[in-house]
């Protein structure tokens, strides 16, 4: 589907040198970068360019990255990768909770960045037609839809991937590390907060009562598993 054009990437960063460097690297990898330096203009640029992925610096003039992230997420499920100088708990968690799929801490290696972007764009590949059930949800993998009693539930691609990963093997308990590898594409263990935050977000959308999850069940001390169908 996107064999030639690997993807349009919107880079939201106020540091022109870094933005330019990101452009060089991304073009070198065959992406199509576009740039915006101001948080206030980020949403307009997003609507205009319709990127496949957003690279978002958290510290921006005007609207800050968190706010931009929230706005983009409100109207699209497009993958968002945050660039942050702070790996502190609060910053990262706030970023993830505002809708970012992944984050990457400065300074990063170009390869690392590209790997993350690829991992997020990977799901654009054509999936095989597949019908899954988890709890009282019906998942159409090819159609990228989740329905409860015929009602569609809107999920971001990442949340969808997470749900599918769990639903495909309902007998298996997934550790956070395994989920990081399968869903986020990390080859070795990274920050498990990613999983925690996105499980929370997913639950808030698919669970009837997020306080008493039935779809994504926590297995204490190990990880998560799909609830019984």
């Amino acid at each position: 589907m996107m064999s030639f054009m690997k993807g349009r990437v919107l880079v939201v960063d106020d540091d022109s040198a870094l933005a330019e460097m990101l452009g060089i690297v991304l073009r070198g990898e065959g992406f199509e970068p576009s740039f915006v330096a101001d948080g206030d203009k980020a949403l307009a640029a997003f609507r205009e360019t319709k990127p496949d992925l957003v690279l978002l610096d958290l510290m921006l003039p005007g609207r800050d990255g968190i706010e931009v992230c929230r706005l983009i997420r409100a109207e699209s499920g497009v993958p968002i990768v945050m660039l942050t100088a702070k790996s502190d708990t609060v910053d990262v968690v706030v970023g993830l909770e505002s809708g970012a799929d992944d984050y990457i801490v400065k300074p990063f290696k170009p390869k690392e960045l590209v790997a993350r972007i690829r991992a997020r764009l990977r799901r654009s590949e054509e999936p095989a037609p597949e019908q899954l059930a988890i709890g009282d949800l019906v998942i159409d993998v090819a159609g990228h839809s989740v329905k409860r009693d015929g009602q569609a539930i809107a999920l971001t691609p990442l949340e969808f991937d997470l749900l599918v990963a769990l639903a495909r093997k309902p007998w298996q308990v997934f550790t956070r590390e395994v989920l990081l590898e399968q869903v986020w594409g990390y080859r070795h263990a990274a920050d498990t907060r990613l999983v925690n935050v996105h499980v929370q977000r997913l639950r808030s959308k698919v669970e009837k009562d997020p306080e008493k999850p039935e779809i994504v069940v926590t297995v204490r001390g190990v990880g998560y598993k799909a609830g019984p169908s």
Binding site: D15, A17, L18, M21, L22, I24, V25, G28, L83, A85, K86, D88, T89, K106, P107, F108, K109, P110, K111, A189, G221
Partner: protein, 716 residues
């Protein structure tokens, strides 16, 4: 040489009662001998005396304590004593004066009365001489009946003038008797007993009147009374001398005097009590603010800097309060300034680190792009590109470590503890270190991973600590094996990383955790460590409420031990792994007893263990407990850097922990620091496993460890 051994050798201090190290024989000065000796249990000598002293002392102790601590009591008691003395003195003086005054008046009145009486007697005798002149013929020695009668009349007539005020007594002169002029007395007075013999002699020997004090004794039931007696030798009508006495009872004076005495005593008592009460009130006025100041000072030192004294008036106490408040305010100001400064500095470090990141990212990416394309460059440029990339890596890790440290300094590090199996962490760390180990020709062995070693910990941090320790061990292990040992016991789990490389010199075991510390500044920086790894590891351990300690001996390798509480918030009391490994040279000293030892071993025979500075002390194992002489070198006590302080929000002063020691079987025998040691008896009672070991945790082991300067955990 072995000065780095931080753990007490097994069996060394076994079973010794935990006497405080600092206690010595009572001091040379007397005050201390008294206080410390008599009152506080330093009495030497036979057990019986000691027992007796204890028995005597026990009820007195609270009183003595109150006396020592309560200035009000002291002042009131002293005031009472002193005023009592003054009142007594005053009373005696006043009573003496009153008595003298009373008696003087009485004596003068009595004398004039007596003189008159004597004159009357003399006059009557002369009158009667003319009357009875004819009867003078009566034979000598047999006074005529008329003289006897005359004398009785005389006594009656003389005494009739003063009924009750005085009595009259006549006695024969010169003690003669049987002359018929026997003693006569008025008013039932016993004449012979009432007049003192000494006075009679004086009267015999002179013709002038004489006086004396006596007690009047009555023939009837009347009580004897003090009295003044005045006597004179007078002639009777026959011209024969006889003694005439006037007795003046002092009853009235006695009464007056006792009245005065009673009044004085009552007044004195009131004065004393009142003075005591006044002293109490006055001292209270002074002491109350002082106590308030003390209480507030305590609260201030406990960190409540906003505490102030209440100031009323303008007197000295008020000035004290004002000065105190001013001091507190300045203190608060300075502290908050320092805090601000420190916060700003930490913020600055954090900001700098963050600000550096964006340009660094650009540089990093640019360098990588150049690095990727280096094949197209000439060799010099290509090499430069490589160096650029390598050094950027190093720069990055340094920056990351700096940021991590600044996060710890800012107290921003948060623990995300959940139950983890340390075996998993160790395995992943070891597998991560395998490539490096292969390059160095080192084999990493894991020991003690048969059972799960589960603890509530932050996996990310624990992994970072262990990775650091393992990589360090491999890097400094000189190609020899590295052993990672796991153990769990009691409320603690531990991982020890042992290498057999260059080891640590005495004193280095504590310094390894210093920031940017390097074992040998001259040594080439072959390994690209940032110099912050162990500092961060120590902070990580501390964040868990755990210990990170090092032991090492030069040439004998080193061992780093991470001890974590099994559950967060549980204070550590010991570690399941002894800090000094069993295969240390010192511990092997016993096993190789028959073999010639190295330099270390030779010294061990002569140098007693436990001497600070005698780093090479190696003693036979096991040493009789008594041979360990804990000294109270303050620099060697725990606290000179030989401990890890738990961070978790408790007052650092009370929760300091010193590394404990452990039994060989992994039973937790080790104690914490002094606090823990003090509590130990009761705690141990419930845990028989702790008693079975022959290794006494005690203070002295911790102290000695510290003395050996081998303790590696660092407290700040």
């Amino acid at each position: 040489m072995s000065g780095d051994s931080a753990a007490s050798a097994p069996g060394r201090s076994g079973g010794r009662p935990g006497r405080p190290v600092g206690r010595k024989a009572t001091g040379s000065n007397w005050g201390r001998l008294f206080e410390g000796g008599l009152l506080e249990g330093g009495v030497q000598g036979s057990p019986v005396i000691r027992l007796f002293m204890r028995w005597v002392r026990r009820p007195l102790l609270p009183v003595m304590r109150l006396w020592r601590r309560n200035i009000q009591l002291k002042v009131v008691a002293t005031t009472l004593l002193m005023s009592l003395g003054v009142v007594l003195l005053l009373g005696f003086v006043v009573i003496g004066q009153v008595r003298n005054g009373l008696l003087d008046a009485k004596v003068r009145a009595s004398q004039s009365q007596a003189t008159g009486g004597f004159a009357v007697a003399k006059q009557q005798a002369e009158q009667d001489v003319s009357v009875t002149g004819d009867e003078d013929i009566a034979p000598e020695g047999h006074p005529s009946q008329s003289v006897i009668q005359w004398m009785s009349d005389l006594v009656a007539s003389l005494s009739s003038g003063g009924q009750g005020a005085f009595d009259v007594v006549t006695l024969p002169a010169g003690g003669e008797s049987g002359s018929g002029r026997g003693p006569r007395a008025s008013g039932e007075v016993n004449p012979t007993v009432s007049v003192p013999a000494e006075l009679r002699e004086r009267i015999d020997s002179s013709t002038s009147p004489a006086q004396s004090y006596t007690r009047v004794v009555y023939n009837d039931d009347k009580e004897s009374q003090p009295a003044l007696v005045i006597g004179k030798q007078v002639n009777d009508p026959n011209g024969d001398p006889y003694q005439l006495y006037y007795l003046f009872p002092l009853t009235q004076e006695e009464k007056s005097l006792s009245l005065v005495k009673g009044t004085l005593a009552t007044a004195g008592l009131f004065v004393v009590v009142l003075l005591g009460a006044i002293a109490w009130l006055v001292v209270r006025q002074v002491v109350t603010p002082v106590r308030m100041a003390a209480g507030i000072a305590e609260r201030l030192s406990a960190g409540r800097l906003q505490e102030r004294m209440k100031v009323t008036g303008e007197d000295d106490i008020a000035r004290l309060g004002e000065a105190f408040n001013k001091m507190a305010q300045n203190l608060q100001l300075k502290i908050s300034q320092l805090e601000d400064l420190s916060r700003m500095q930490r913020r600055f470090v954090s900001d700098v680190s963050h600000e550096l990141r964006t340009p660094l990212t650009t540089v990093r990416m640019a360098a990588d792009v150049i690095h990727e394309a280096r094949e197209d460059f000439d060799p010099v440029t290509a090499r430069s590109a490589e160096l650029l990339a390598d050094q950027l890596d190093r720069f990055e890790s340094l920056l990351a470590d700096l940021l991590e440290i600044s996060r710890f300094d800012a107290g921003a590090a948060a623990l995300e503890a959940e139950p983890i199996d340390l075996r998993e962490v160790v395995r992943s760390v070891v597998s991560g270190a395998e490539p490096l180990a292969e390059r160095k020709g080192t084999q990493i062995r894991i020991v003690g991973d048969q059972q799960p070693v589960v603890a509530e910990a932050d996996a990310r941090r624990v992994e970072r600590v262990l990775r650091n320790l393992v990589v360090n061990a491999v890097e400094h292990g000189e190609g020899r094996d590295v052993v990672v040992k796991l153990a769990a016991a009691g409320g603690a789990v531990a991982v020890a990383v042992r290498d057999y490389g260059v080891g640590l010199k005495p004193g280095e075991a504590t310094r390894v955790f210093s920031r940017f510390w390097r074992a040998d500044p001259a040594r080439a920086r072959t390994t690209g460590g940032t110099g912050l790894g162990l500092s961060i590891a120590l902070e990580d351990a501390r964040l868990h409420g755990g210990w990170l300690q090092a032991w090492g001996e030069p040439g004998g390798g080193s061992q780093f031990r991470l001890t974590l509480p099994r559950t967060a918030d549980e204070p550590l009391r010991g570690s399941p792994i002894p800090l000094e490994p069993k295969d240390s040279r010192r511990n092997r000293g016993l096993d190789d007893a028959g073999l010639p030892r190295g330099g270390d071993g030779e010294k061990s025979a002569t140098v007693p263990v436990g001497q600070p500075g005698s780093g090479s002390a190696r003693d036979p194992f096991p040493l009789p407990p008594a041979a360990v002489t804990p000294t109270a070198d303050p620099t060697a006590l725990p606290g000179s850097g030989a401990r890890v302080v738990a961070r978790s929000g408790r007052a650092s002063g009370s929760t300091r922990m010193t590394p404990g020691t452990l039994g060989e079987a992994g039973a937790p025998l080790g104690g914490g620091g002094k606090d823990a040691a003090a509590r130990r008896p009761s705690e141990d009672a419930g845990d028989p496993a702790r008693r079975t070991g022959d290794e006494g945790p005690g203070d002295e082991s911790a102290t000695r460890d510290a003395e050996r300067d081998g303790e590696a955990s660092r407290g700040r």
